[in-house]
């Protein structure tokens, strides 16, 4: 009897978590701790690894706790749009394959992947991180297209923050071959050896928070916490701590809490911390 009661305790906790997720989380929060042992406003540890994929022009692997995202930049050449002859293209996409979580099925991009991809696109555009004019090879003829593809390998919540960080790191790691336009033959050749980094300015970084039960503000929610949150707030700041974007998804913010300013303050200190990782790569 004693031998069976030890594992059954653990199994009972897991069953309780599965059947009554909300009560399970509430009980932890009553004790001022989260199920994974973090404080309410504590983010998970993050690690960035760049340049390990030789088939990409720039690559990164970001881990935010268990959440893992790989990102690769592939550079191709295309004709610019007629109304913007000097503008290159930046095409960010996130894939959430069935590999990363049981909630995703094989097939076309899920709703989550579509929403997050378009939010990433917005974040990269409005930060002005990469001026599209700098991707011009020959005005009106050839420009660079940067496909920034991210794949989630392990989904344990807050994929948006992890992916934006992975994309930023991959772009910083990217080296484009030096391109030469030949007027007489009207084509572009690239050097195999000479490679140059992109001309980047600004670093958009995201910090996501969730409101649980109109009373608790939780930073960097996990996959277990995410579906239980009423509201999520994402703050995007640049490396100087300036606010780039604030978005709130979900129900109204509880008026008795000063959620937004608390999020912004915490996002700024988080950004300073992440910048140390980025500068180290």
């Amino acid at each position: 009897m004693a031998a069976t009661s030890v594992p059954s305790e653990e199994i009972r906790a897991a069953t309780f978590q599965r059947l009554y997720p909300k009560t399970y989380l509430e009980r932890f929060l009553q004790e001022n701790v989260r199920p994974d042992g973090r404080d309410f406003l504590e983010f998970r540890d993050c690690s960035i690894n760049v340049g390990s994929i030789s088939t990409a022009d720039g690559s990164s692997l970001v881990r935010l706790g268990d959440t893992t995202v790989v990102c690769g930049v592939k550079a191709e050449i295309a004709e610019p749009d007629l109304d913007a002859p000097e503008d290159g293209f930046l095409v960010p996409n996130l894939d959430l394959p069935p590999l990363c979580s049981p909630k995703y099925k094989p097939g076309p991009p899920s709703d989550d992947a579509q929403v997050i991809s378009s939010r990433l696109n917005e974040a990269l555009i409005l930060s002005g991180m990469l001026p599209t004019k700098s991707l011009c090879i020959q005005p009106g003829k050839f420009v660079w297209v940067l496909y920034v593809d991210a794949t989630c390998i392990n989904y344990n919540g807050n994929v948006f923050d992890a992916t934006l960080l992975a994309m930023v790191a991959a772009l910083k790691n990217a080296r484009l071959p030096k391109a030469v336009y030949h007027e007489e033959t009207n084509h572009v050749t690239c050097s195999r050896k000479l490679r140059e980094p992109l001309s980047l300015s600004g670093t958009p970084l995201a910090s996501t928070f969730g409101v649980f039960d109109s009373s608790h503000l939780l930073a960097d929610p996990t996959a277990f916490e995410e579906p239980l949150l009423e509201t999520t707030v994402t703050i995007i700041t640049d490396n100087g701590g300036r606010l780039l974007s604030t978005s709130q998804l979900g129900q109204y913010l509880p008026p008795e809490m000063d959620v937004l300013s608390e999020c912004i303050t915490n996002a700024k200190s988080r950004t300073t911390e992440i910048m140390k990782h980025i500068l180290a790569i």
Partner: protein, 260 residues
Amino acid sequence: MSTNFDRRRINGPEDSFSPVLVDDDEDETKWRPGKPRQSRQPQDIRPIFLQPGLISQANGSAYIETERTKIACAVYGPRQSKNVGYIERGRLNVQVKFAPFSCHKRRAPIRDAEDRSIAVLIHQSLVSSVRLELFPKSTIDVFLTIIENDGIDSCVATGTVAASTALADAGIEMLGLVTSCAATLMGEEIWLDPNHDEATAGASTLVLACMPALNVVTSVWQNGTISPKQGLECMKACQERCETIHSIVAQSLVSNFTPE
């Protein structure tokens, strides 16, 4: 109108092409067909890094890296088969996906034939090892994502090893661990575990999957021209190497195992 416009993704321009690379000043250090093998002997395989259990959301998982081949694998299940009637035996479902940045040319995220054929080969290597008769009405999903690709043969072989490790990590009953090794015929020599350049230069490639613990072969896939005698030699060489890989897999599973 462009055919590859997809409103579910962020789209780039209608048409784009890979940069044309020139002025290659005959890089002397690069391997070329006809030269002896670089940095390892013909019968050597590349070092294997294998880590089970990296994907916390999955029932079982494995990440494998052999120099430039990098594959992540997750196993979900056994879970209920959807949209089918009663089936007595479980179903093993293998899906392979290339990351868009995994190859030299960007792989646009559309279904193509290559990932299917790799999935079929991996499925074939694995299916006879899994005790599917124990899982009626269930499906075991094996998902592989190729993060970096260095030759299709290498993908099939390393993918099989990763998938079998992930199945073991998920605690799914098997008759034995499946390991796999590729070989290419370079002139008269047999080179084991070829990378992309070597596999394309060779006259024939062969991928063998086996269960070393039971001393049985589960799948052989051969391409190109080879004499039956050389084919058998290739299989023998691969099988010997599979035993080495078997101990690597077993070691990684043991060191990852935590008794409950």
